[in-house]
């Protein structure tokens, strides 16, 4: 993974809008992103967690450059770095599609300027950034040894997710690489029927990294469908082994698997490998809690877990590291009439947007009721067709999130299943949450946990 920059879409759009405003004498505007890191064995995520505009009066008039900021703007950024324990990225806008490139002025002036922010706080990544329409050029000074990282991949996290990977294959960079990729894709008829997902969709899907937590009745559907769609990079989390009672719904499982007491992770891997011999699958048969570093590399995580507490914890993890999270689940309960109803949900939880607590799906009542039943949970009723309905919707959300084929997915989703009527409809609460700021997972708490001495 090395170094990856993540920017919440809401923040990215806000920054672009602010940087597009005119100034009395400067030709362009400047702002700052505050940053926090998530550090793993395989690399570092640098999260942009807040945007700060530079006040008009803090510019210095200079016709030789697009914009020049003065000492006050610089010390304000240094103060933020110190008091908020964040890094600072000087940011301005070049506009246009693709990866922006720095000007001579940017190269000359901004790296020495960035040292000022490092001087104030050496524990977080600082530097400078140039925004394009859907990508950003970055030059970062990384702790602990002030390594300089140039033009690292940038992901804009929201609906849709834009994953700007940097092609490292020699001879296949940029436009030429894309052209060759498209010609290869044109020759591959396997995905001809899903070309409506976009001309880049096959490459987006093949390179996306998807984490799936829980590989039972729900997760097995997700794995199967994603594999058919062309997803090839998986982080699969489940330590459980299949049992006879799973066979009514665990897609891809066989009686032989039950006799062999096979790991659900192995069954899921087998499903994928039957379609993609070149798939990259990380499925050691571990719980998600033991695969944290691997999950940090995911572009999206899908949770198909059994308990509200686990949902809460997986969402919390995904929020902390700016990973979109799709939650799927179902339950059967008896009604006052004595008959049964199937309830279920597909929820898309995005950084900076309403979470499952905001939506009311998770709350202290259900969590405490669940905790009170600990040790006496019994077998939750589960059936394959309602799992299939819910998981298909979840897969649709994942694909739309990554390809933006529908041009309609622009925020969180909460779809509620009514099993008897076989309907899957938006929960009414989601519309009421438009523009709502999530207090459960504020952007300022993103990154590795920050303990402050008392």
């Amino acid at each position: 993974m090395k170094t990856l920059v993540k920017i919440p879409r809401r923040l990215f759009e806000h920054a672009k809008e602010d940087l597009s405003r005119p100034h009395a004498f400067a030709c362009e505007r400047v702002g700052f992103f505050s940053t926090r890191r998530s550090v793993t064995d395989s690399g570092t995520l640098v999260h942009c967690i807040a945007y700060h505009a530079v006040a008009d009066e803090h510019y210095v008039e200079d016709d030789s450059v697009g914009a020049r900021i003065g000492s006050r703007a610089i010390t304000d950024a240094m103060t933020r770095a110190m008091t908020d324990s964040v890094g600072q990225l000087h940011v301005h806008r070049h506009g246009g599609r693709g990866l922006p490139r720095p000007s001579f002025t940017d190269d000359d002036e901004l790296s020495p300027l960035a040292r000022s922010f490092v001087n104030a706080n050496r524990s977080e990544a600082s530097g400078w950034m140039i925004l394009g329409d859907n990508d950003a050029y970055t030059r970062l000074t990384m702790p602990p040894h002030s390594e300089v990282v140039v033009a690292c991949p940038v992901t804009i996290v929201g609906a849709p997710v834009i994953v700007n990977r940097r092609n490292t294959q020699p001879g296949l960079s940029g436009f030429i690489g894309k052209l060759i990729g498209k010609r290869r894709a044109a020759g591959n008829r396997r995905y001809a029927r899903q070309s409506f997902l976009g001309s880049d969709s096959e490459s987006i899907i093949a390179n996306a990294v998807v984490g799936i937590v829980g590989l039972g009745g729900g997760g097995s559907h997700i794995v199967q469908q994603l594999a058919h769609l062309g997803f090839k990079r998986f982080i699969l989390c489940d330590h459980d082994r299949i049992s006879n009672s799973n066979l009514n719904r665990l897609v891809g499982a066989t009686c032989a698997d039950v006799r062999a007491k096979r790991l659900k992770a192995d069954i899921a891997s087998r499903t994928i490998l039957k379609l993609h011999r070149d798939a990259h699958i990380n499925a050691p048969g571990h719980k998600w809690e033991d695969m944290i570093d691997d999950l940090l590399t995911c572009d999206v995580v899908v949770g198909c877990v059994d308990t509200f507490a686990t949902r809460r914890d997986v969402e919390a993890f995904c929020r902390q590291h700016m990973i979109p999270y799709v939650d799927v689940g179902m339950d059967v309960h008896s009604m006052a009439t004595g008959q049964f109803e199937i309830d279920g949900q597909v929820i898309l939880s995005l950084p900076g947007e309403p979470c499952m607590h905001c939506m009311g799906f998770l709350n202290e009542i259900v969590l405490s009721q669940e905790a009170a039943k600990y040790g006496a949970a019994g077998d939750n009723p589960q059936v394959v067709w309602s799992n299939g309905l819910l998981c298909s919707a979840a897969v649709g959300i994942v694909v739309d999130l990554l390809t933006d084929w529908s041009k309609t997915l622009r925020g969180p989703r909460y779809l509620a299943l009514q099993g008897r009527a076989l309907t899957l409809q938006p929960d009414k609460r989601i519309a009421a949450l438009s523009g709502h700021d999530c207090k459960h997972y504020p952007l300022t708490q993103i990154g590795d946990p920050l303990f402050t001495a008392l």
């Binding site: 809690e289 914890d313 969590l367 405490s368 905790a371 459960h440 708490q445 920050l450 303990f451």
Partner: protein, 114 residues
């Protein structure tokens, strides 16, 4: 809910190595290290005190290790849960009061290990 300064000061007198972490609108307290009552193995652990309602408990004490001990708290119903990027373990132990100071809360939770 933010930690109350007088309660933090009281706790700090007896357990000086304190840090706080924000969890949404609430705060938890990290005690590192915490020396557990005699009979615990290991005795020195990190502890995370959650002074707000979570999973039906008015407060909880999470430990960095699932310790062996001879106290009455035997039901480890938080088993390697991830909070603030680390794994934690906790026994089921209700304080049955929501008016305890942080120090009283911690000592009440430590009763589970005596």
């Amino acid at each position: 809910m933010a930690l109350k300064d007088p309660e933090v000061a009281e706790l700090k007198k007896f357990f000086p190595n304190l840090s706080r972490i924000e969890v949404g609108e609430n705060e938890m307290v990290l005690i590192s290290p915490l020396i557990l009552p005699q009979g615990c193995n290991p005795r020195t652990v990190d502890a995370l005190l959650c002074p707000f309602t979570r999973d039906g408990y008015t407060s909880r004490l999470f430990l960095s290790v699932k310790v062996d001990h001879t106290g009455p708290g035997k039901n480890w119903n938080a088993d390697g849960v991830i909070i603030a990027g680390r794994k934690w373990w906790a026994v089921s132990w209700k304080t049955n009061r929501d008016d305890l100071t942080l120090r009283e809360m911690l000592l009440t939770h430590l009763d589970a290990f005596k």
